[in-house]
């Protein structure tokens, strides 16, 4: 029964206008974002700029981190991710004074002086992308700096920039030729070029896929109610698991097909380009990279839309999930990495292979979390469905009765 239901659900998706709108928007969005992403050359000595890399230099880390702290103190707005999700922290006047004292201890200058210096840097570096620095006090050791940042963390709370693991992976500096060459070699050998390209594809696709599947999920979950077929389907012998899981999987597969097809089509020119550059490209990157990167996201977005729509019998989930996607996007401290538990995993660059491999475990943890979350949501949807089937009411129906 399950296989037949699955195929019939796939056919239903193919008859849905919402699905075709999804396909058109997805393809247009991706092709418009991915065009022109082909500037890839082997670095040569003598270039003036080789791109940026995360520094391992203690002095630069301290200067960059303190500059970041000066800016956040100035706004009294600290970005944190206590449980992986964005949270803005505002300190009390007393706490701000404590942080200013820490800054003074590390730099030997008052906050007012530091703020003025920062403003001067801003005026001088009017072109975007400039990295700000605050010179540290002479004799400040890295251990003292670490201790000072721990004090900041105590005040600001968990998940701030001032945690050791965060600031040590966030301060960027221009690359040298040797670094650029090492990065390019990693891109060629470890990524086979196509995997790096697919990560960039996943970055753009992940943005739009945090929203579009919501509409397909809501449309499917409300279709029974709109068509007045709930009662007759409830009375059939098929179990809630068979009905919900076949619907879920059918929608998941139908949403994924255009994603993988687009990935394949966009990957092919890069695959042939890799060959011409003497690089062994990964022909299966269009499956493996989006499979790990995007599939858990699509699964979660779809499962949550199924669950909330089945639970409420309304379209409320659209507003809720769009807000979730938006928060995930604006909360990223960087467009390359900073996965945390964000729904949308960003990698807005072609390359930085070495950084990727250093963060791969974090990405796997993030995607594993969303895979499990999706599974939990599907199980909950089945339970809600079975409850409704035995005379349970959706939240919307309960509220309507309460209103009367």
């Amino acid at each position: 029964m399950f296989g037949t239901l699955f195929i019939k659900e796939c056919r239903q998706v193919l008859k849905s206008l919402v699905y075709y709108i999804y396909v058109v928007i997805f393809v247009l969005f991706i092709t418009s974002q991915m065009s022109g992403e082909d500037e890839l050359r082997e670095p040569q000595p003598g270039w003036s700029y080789y791109g940026e890399t995360v520094t391992q230099d203690d002095d630069l880390i301290m200067e960059g981190t303190l500059a970041h702290l000066i800016q956040e103190v100035g706004r009294n707005s600290f970005t944190t991710y206590p449980i992986g999700f964005y949270k803005e922290v505002n300190l009390t006047d007393g706490e701000i004074e404590q942080v200013k004292a820490i800054l003074e201890r590390c730099t030997g200058r008052s906050f007012e002086v530091l703020d003025e210096e920062m403003e001067q840097q801003f005026i001088q570096n009017s072109v975007g992308g400039a990295s700000y620095q605050a010179a540290v006090k002479e004799g400040l050791t890295y251990a003292e700096f670490e201790a000072a940042m721990e004090e900041v963390c105590d005040l600001v709370g968990k998940g701030s920039f001032y945690e050791k693991g965060n600031y040590e992976n966030s301060i960027s500096v221009p690359m040298t030729y040797e670094q650029a060459k090492e990065e390019f070699d990693a891109l060629s050998t470890k990524d086979g070029l196509t995997r790096a390209y697919m990560r960039l594809f996943c970055d753009y696709a992940g943005i739009i896929l945090s929203v579009l599947p919501i509409f397909i999920g809501v449309s499917r979950a409300l279709r029974d109610k709109r068509a007045k077929v709930q009662q007759v389907i409830f009375s059939k012998s098929a179990s809630g698991i068979q009905i919900i899981v076949s619907r879920y999987l059918a929608n998941l597969v139908m949403i994924s097909i255009p994603v993988f097809l687009t990935a394949l089509l966009l990957q092919q020119p890069f695959y042939y380009r890799a060959q011409t550059m003497g690089i062994q490209g990964d022909i299966w990157a269009f499956l493996t990279v989006p499979g790990i990167w995007l599939l858990p996201e699509i699964m979660t977005v779809l499962a949550v839309s199924f669950l909330i729509t089945e639970f409420t019998d309304t379209i409320w989930t659209i507003f809720l999930q769009v807000a979730w996607a938006f928060t995930s996007l604006i909360s990223a401290t960087t467009l390359v990495g900073d996965f945390g538990l964000k729904l949308v995993a960003r990698w807005n660059t072609l390359g930085r292979t070495l950084l990727y491999f250093s963060l791969e475990k974090e990405l796997f943890f993030n995607r594993g979390f969303y895979f499990l979350l999706a599974a939990v949501c599907v199980i909950l949807t089945v339970l809600v469905y079975e409850k409704k089937r035995r005379g349970g009411e959706s939240v919307h129906e309960k509220l309507r009765k309460f209103d009367k």
Binding site: M1, T4, L5, K8, Q12, K15, R223, A227, K228, V229, Q231, V232, I233, F234, S235, K236, S237, A238, S239, I243, R389, R390, G391
Partner: protein, 289 residues
């Protein structure tokens, strides 16, 4: 296995509101009519029998199986809900095939049964048209096809003829009688004519309680000798309606032919007539008030 539905002391509460109160009923093979005004609790009873609602108290068994055994009950019942419909973008064939899958039928079973059922409900020639293009009568016929396709022992139909034109209504009633030959068909309706034309055994439900159960002839015997017909002046109509239970009025110019239920002859020109089920039902409802 016994072919009957046994309902004992069935009570259903929605919060503080009691929809069914201590309902006792035995329904045997053949057509059984459940009559009652809107809001009497008929749909609640149907939904309990089809596992769509949990009972509050009492016992219900269908062919010996307690109604709590959802899967078994769903296997042995076919349900045509009051407002049956299907996905508009499906063809008649696809819709029936989809519902047959949900009833657990294999591909080979569906291949033979779907056309057979469509033929039975006279929709075979229309199998390719979309559900959204079907008339109310056609949708109802598709509804009965999906209710019987898995060959259930019990078929429960809730207000199946509401909104149908007279021809469709007769055709639908005949179809129900045909399929009731070797099954239990429970027909719930507030349309007395449907019951009169199809059922021998009936129950009348009012405000969640059974106020009559038995054969149609027994219901009729309650008003035997109490139904009168008379021709009166149209201007007297209001006065007569205040005094007696009037079950039929036909106004022709200045005169009105009326049908009255009364324990004794209401006036000299009134003559006793043969009661029909509608008279008996009205009498029963009046007594209940």
């Amino acid at each position: 296995m016994e072919m009957s539905i046994e309902i004992r002391d069935l009570t259903k509460n929605y919060g503080k509101k009691q929809a069914l109160s201590k309902v006792d009923l035995t329904i045997s093979q053949g057509m059984f009519g459940l009559l009652g005004p809107n809001g009497a609790g008929k749909t609640t009873l149907m939904k309990i029998l089809t596992t769509l609602l949990k009972k509050t108290e009492g016992e219900v068994t269908i062919c010996g199986v307690p109604v709590e055994k959802n899967r078994q009950i769903r296997d042995m019942t076919g349900y045509l809900p009051q407002d049956f419909s299907m996905y508009g973008n499906m063809s008649v064939y696809e819709a029936l095939d989809y519902l047959a899958v949900l009833s657990g039928m294999s591909k080979s079973e569906r291949k033979s049964k779907v056309p057979e059922m469509l033929e039975k409900v006279n929709l075979l020639e229309k199998q390719k048209i979309k559900v959204k293009s079907m008339s109310g009568g056609m949708i109802r016929r598709l509804g009965i096809a999906q209710a019987i396709i898995h060959d259930p022992k019990v078929i429960i139909v809730d207000e199946p003829t509401a909104g149908l034109d007279p021809e469709e209504r007769v055709r639908f009633r005949n179809l129900l009688c045909e399929i009731a030959k070797d099954r239990i068909v429970l027909l719930s309706t507030h349309i007395v004519g449907d019951i009169e034309a199809t059922c021998e055994n009936i129950a009348v439900l009012n405000q969640g309680k059974i106020c009559f159960k038995g054969k149609v002839t027994e219901l009729l015997s309650m008003v035997e000798g109490k139904v009168y017909s008379a021709e009166i002046a149209a201007v007297e109509l209001e006065k007569v309606k205040e005094k007696y239970m009037v079950t039929g009025i036909l106004v022709t110019g200045s005169t009105a032919n009326i049908k009255i239920i009364a324990d004794e002859q209401p006036f000299s020109q009134a003559r006793q007539v043969q009661p029909d089920v509608e008279d008996a039902y009205m009498y029963l409802m009046h007594k209940e008030k």
